[in-house]
Each structure stands twice: as structure tokens, then as C-alpha cells.
Symmetry: C3
Subunit: 259 residues, 3 copies
């Protein structure tokens, strides 16, 4: 089990030369450390490896679990609205709707101040969820039911889940699901798609849909799942959906060639 | 000869659970495939290797020539206004005047959502031509006679042709052109410069220009051609202009040192 | 000693086909060269390796010290307001408050059109100083006393000096300074921090500050210096501050564990 970490922040611990200092105190695994910051801490987040704090002066600081400063003070363009750490990655989502992710070990940006405006269709759509995977892939869920991840290699937002997508609702691959003994899919893709993924439950009600159309929908859906799992670098989910996809091709193969 | 590819799009092939599905049907070299998309297709483009379609929901999808989805669904910020495929590269120019190019094999962005505003001097200048080379270099021709390519290594717009440039019109290198048997220059640089490149035809009329000035113009022009061909990764054109440049240096060498 | 370079610009040296040509004449180490540009030169800068000129048409051209064109003509989005060359790097700061740096040898962008708006808190803050290190790291000093460098690996602005930072003013490491024989710190970090760095001069006056707080301030300050020197790729300054940091840990070590 991971050792617990206790983080305590005391803003305005002292006023020196007219400016207010904040103190960060951290306790973990019997080791204590503390450090000072020249502005009030507004958000903090941590993982097993790192600790990140964002201050009122829009500065982001990252420390090791032993208190060593790992990055120089990073100036954010607007205040931070969500801060996540996962493994040795840190993700900052700002009030200006921009997303950044850094690989702290490699001292390298993975995602650089990317605007969310591309994926927000209008002012009434909001960010309902955000997460950072153990591989440093950022995922954003919107109030319109769509979830996106930012691919650092394709350098673009890619759609990984859409609760309103009819293909998700109509794809029927019940006969291809692993046996109950096999591990079920768990990971960022499952988290973002939620219970909406009903493996053809709705589809069975839509008996009016022609069979060849439902086959095409299922195939397109399964290929989307593979592409999404790959983009999310979610190895377990990729294997899970590849197995279902392969079974589907085998089961339906002879019929597919007759399309 | 390349086998022909037939691509057929049927929008609203079916309405399932309230949303309209589109079908993409492709036939090539005797192999047929089809797939479904959850929105109307507005543009499609293809090369020998890949097929790209942009939908009304601003999603870009890329498939192999056999119908396998090669990239996750890419969300564009604004509707696509031009879509090109060349070899395994895909280029999207959006209505928001931003350009992107992806290397589909490497699953990597070469040019990432670059604004054309840097090269558009005013609202009255428009994009008159756009192309993507076999090396994945995007080229944009404007209504003001200037052509730019976006260099993915320099990460900036570079001028490769300007029909109004006096140096283009006055450079005189007729004596250095290859013999008629040699291959003429063909490639993206020639395409963008067009017949305007008259090898000193205008220059001969401008007999009032001092000789040493015309020499300098010719040298500067030839060096620009080399830099442009290099940026365009156009090997054949680079060789062509290097030959002319070398001949010019040899022919005019003794005079150049007297400048 | 570096050989001197003389650069002479003559705008409108000739009017050909309606457009004005400018001539650049360069003399260095007994070698002369000249070239023509199709627009008036507005700024020029040079280093031991390269020469850069920005023209009225917002084109940036880079030449070798022998006059060979090294980059294609780069189109800047707005007029250049500061141009620096250092070793084989060129930096352009534009009137639109965007910064770019290119590595001319590698034909590669290090910093790509980065907005300064992230670091400018309001319209009354201006850029008071800008420099480019021998390693190609761009540094910008603002009128509010803060200095930033843009890290090309973290792809973000990082704070490297703040004249108003109370920790800078209160850190006390006088007992850890190298002897007078040792080389003093010189480099971009020292340039941007200036004489403000008084090694605890102010601190000694602030005798009311509790000792453990001043210790924490000194530690935090020294760790900031290390992170800044690393980001600036300033090897000599990193060694200098590492030595002081180590001495401080040794001197204060027993007391630090009692915090």
C-alpha cells in the first residue's frame, strides 16, 4: 500500500519586507519537510512521486516527495482551475480554458497550453470532469456528454467517448464479451464512457434496425474503441477491446463479406 | 499506374436513436469496404495510402485504403475548408484560417493548427491555392501573388515564391539553363512560381539596370531558390537550381570578385 | 579576440520594376560580401557565426558570416521590435509581443512565436531588457522587476529573478560565499538579478525575523537559484550556487533537522 502523505499549507505565515510568505509542510512515511513560497497557495495536488502547488501569483511549483524543487517556478497565463498529479506527471487546467501537462522526470512539456475552445461548442458547455492517466494523458469530460483526450503525438483533441453517440448505443457485441471469469475493462476509457456502454442493451430494443446496419455500427464502434484506447495509452483496455473486435470479426466474418 | 479508387458517401443513410448516420463506401482494386460515421460528411480526400473525411460535427477521420481506422476522431476547431491527402500525410485547412498536417504512419502532427493570419496582410487577401507535397510539406498560395510553405522544423511560415518580386523578374541566368535534353524543373516550387519565372526575359528589357546590380539580383534570387527548394524538401528542384547556381558562379566568377 | 565585422545597409539602392531594393554590405576579417533584399532593412544583428536582418515587409533573413543565406525568408506576424544573435542562435521579439528563437545550425525552432501576454500582468508593464544566451535561451526583463526565461523543454515561461521577492532580500548565505580568490558568479542569472542580490544585507537589518524562518527562506531561495541556473543552461552559475547550497546545508545541517 502507498504510504499516506499529509500536506499542510499555512498562508501568510509571515510578512517580510512587505510581502506575505506561505509555508508548505509535508509529512510522509515518517519524513517531514517544509518550504516557503512568496505568495498564497490556492491549490495543491500530489501523487506517489510529486507534489504540485499553484499560488495566487499564478506560479506553479513542483516538488519531489522529499521536498526538493523539481521545476523552476512556472508562470501560468491565468489562475489554475484544476490541478492533477499522476505518477511523475502534472496537469494544470486554467481559468482561461487552457491545458498543460509536464513530464517532471524528463523536464519536458507533453501538452503545452492547449485551448479547450476547440472542443467547447458554446458558452453553455462546461468541463464536468478532468483526469490525468498514469501515462500522462489528459482527459476532459464535458457537460454535453463528450469526452476528449489531448494526444501529445497528434497534437490535437481526439474524441474518446460520446454518451449521445447512436453507434455507442446500438453496437451489439454481447456475444463477444469475455466470460465472467475474465477481467472486465477498467481504465480511463471505461471511466469516461461510464455505464452508458450497455453492450447492445438498447440495440436489442431497436429490432427495426436492419442487421447489416447494426453490424456496420458495431464494427465502427469497436474500431473507435481501439483507436481511443491507443490514444489513451491504456494497454489493458486496448487488449480488452481487441479481443472483442477479433471475436466479432470471427463470428460475423462470413456475413461481413456478403455486405 | 495507380489503381482507381471510387468513394461514395451517403449522408443520412439511417436515423438511429435520433441521430443521423452517414455511410462511406469505398471500392478499390476490386476490394470494397464501407463504414458508418455519426455525422454528415462534408469533404473527403484521398491518396494512394489513405482516405480522409471531414464531417459536419467538425470531426476528421482517417482510414487506410482497406478501410481500417488509422487515427482516432480528431476534433477540428472550425469547419474544414480544404482537405488534402498525399502519400501518408493529411492536411486540413479550416475556415478559421488554421492549418494542420499529420503524418498518419508515424501518428504524429507535422504542422499543428497554425494560423494563416501571419501571412495574410489584410482581409482582402485570400487563399487561392493550397497543396500538400509527397513529403508532407504544406504550401499555400495567396491572391497577392505570394506563396508560403510552413516549415515543420523552423516552425514558421517561409516565403517560397512572390510573383511581384522584382528580383524574380530581373534575375538573368539564361546562359546557365540546362540543355534542352536535361529534365526541366517540375515540383511544388515550379507549381507555385508558375510561368512568371521567365529566366531574365523581363531583365533583358531592363537594359538600364547596371550589370553588377543584375548580377547581385541573380545571385540573391538563386540562393532564395535553393533555400525554398530545401524547405519544400523538393530534391529534384534543389538539384536543378544548384546546377544553375554553380554554373552562374563559374561563368560570372571572375566578374563577381571585381564587385 | 574576435575579428570585427562591419555591416552597412543601403535602403533603396535601386528601384527595379517598381519595387525598391536594399543592399547589405558586410566586411569581416578582410572578406567582403554583399547581397540584395526586396524591402527596406529596419533592424540588423550579428554574432560571431551569423547575421540577421529584418525588413519592412516583416521578413527575417539569416546569413552566414560569409554571406550565404542560411534560412529561407521567414515571415513574421508583426514588425520586429528586438533582434538578437548569439552563437548560431537568432531571437526575434515582435511588436505583437511574441518571441521566437531559431537554432540556425540545426535549422530548427527552439521557441516558437510565444506570447509574452502570459508574463505581462497589465498594459503598464513593459519589456525593459531582452537577451539571448550563448546556449540559445531567451531572457526577458520586465519593468515590474521580474525576469523570465522561456524554457524550450518545459515550453513555458519560468521566473528566474524577481527584484521585489522578499526571499531574495532576506536570504542570508554570507557565511557560505566563496573566498575572494574564487570566481564570482557571472552569467545571465547575475545579469538579470543585478546588484539587488545582496547576500543577506537587508536580512541582517531584519533581526526581528525568526532564525528558522530565515533559514527556510535561504533554503528556498538557493533552490530557486539552482532551478533557474539549470533552466538558463548556465553551467558556471549552476556550479556557483550548488557550492553555496551545499555549504549552507553543511553549516546549518544540524539545526535544519531541529526545525
Amino acid at each position: 500500500m502507498e504510504p499516506s502523505m499529509f500536506l499542510e499549507v499555512e498562508n501568510e505565515v509571515s510578512v517580510v519586507a512587505g510581502s506575505k510568505l506561505s509555508q508548505l509542510r509535508c509529512s510522509r512515511d515518517g519524513r517531514d519537510w517544509n518550504t516557503l513560497l512568496p505568495s498564497s497557495v490556492v491549490t495543491a495536488a500530489g501523487s506517489s512521486d510529486i507534489l504540485a502547488v499553484a499560488c495566487q501569483d499564478r506560479m506553479l511549483s513542483v516538488f519531489s516527495s522529499c521536498g526538493r524543487r523539481l521545476l523552476p517556478a512556472i508562470q501560468l497565463a491565468t489562475p489554475v482551475s484544476a490541478l492533477h498529479c499522476s505518477a511523475h506527471f502534472v496537469m494544470a487546467l486554467t481559468a482561461g480554458a487552457a491545458l498543460s501537462v509536464w513530464d517532471v522526470h524528463k523536464q519536458k512539456a507533453l501538452v503545452k497550453n492547449e485551448s479547450l475552445l476547440s472542443i467547447l461548442p458554446g458558452a453553455d458547455t462546461t468541463v464536468s470532469q478532468s483526469l490525468l492517466t498514469q501515462q500522462g494523458v489528459p482527459v476532459v469530460g464535458l457537460s454535453n456528454g463528450k469526452s476528449y483526450c489531448f494526444s501529445s503525438s497528434l497534437e490535437t483533441w481526439t474524441l474518446i467517448a460520446d454518451k449521445g453517440d447512436s453507434m455507442v448505443q446500438c453496437a451489439d457485441f454481447r456475444s463477444c464479451l469475455p466470460t465472467q471469469d475474465a477481467p472486465v475493462s477498467s481504465g480511463p476509457l471505461a471511466v469516461m464512457q461510464g455505464r452508458n456502454l450497455n453492450a447492445g442493451r438498447l440495440a436489442s430494443r431497436l429490432s427495426s434496425t436492419p442487421h447489416h446496419l447494426q453490424q456496420s455500427m458495431t464494427l465502427a464502434f469497436l474500431e473507435n474503441q481501439l483507436a481511443s484506447a491507443l490514444t489513451l495509452q491504456s494497454a489493458q483496455e486496448y487488449r480488452y477491446w481487441l479481443l472483442i473486435y477479433t471475436r466479432f470479426l470471427v463470428n460475423e466474418g462470413s456475413k461481413l463479406f456478403l455486405l
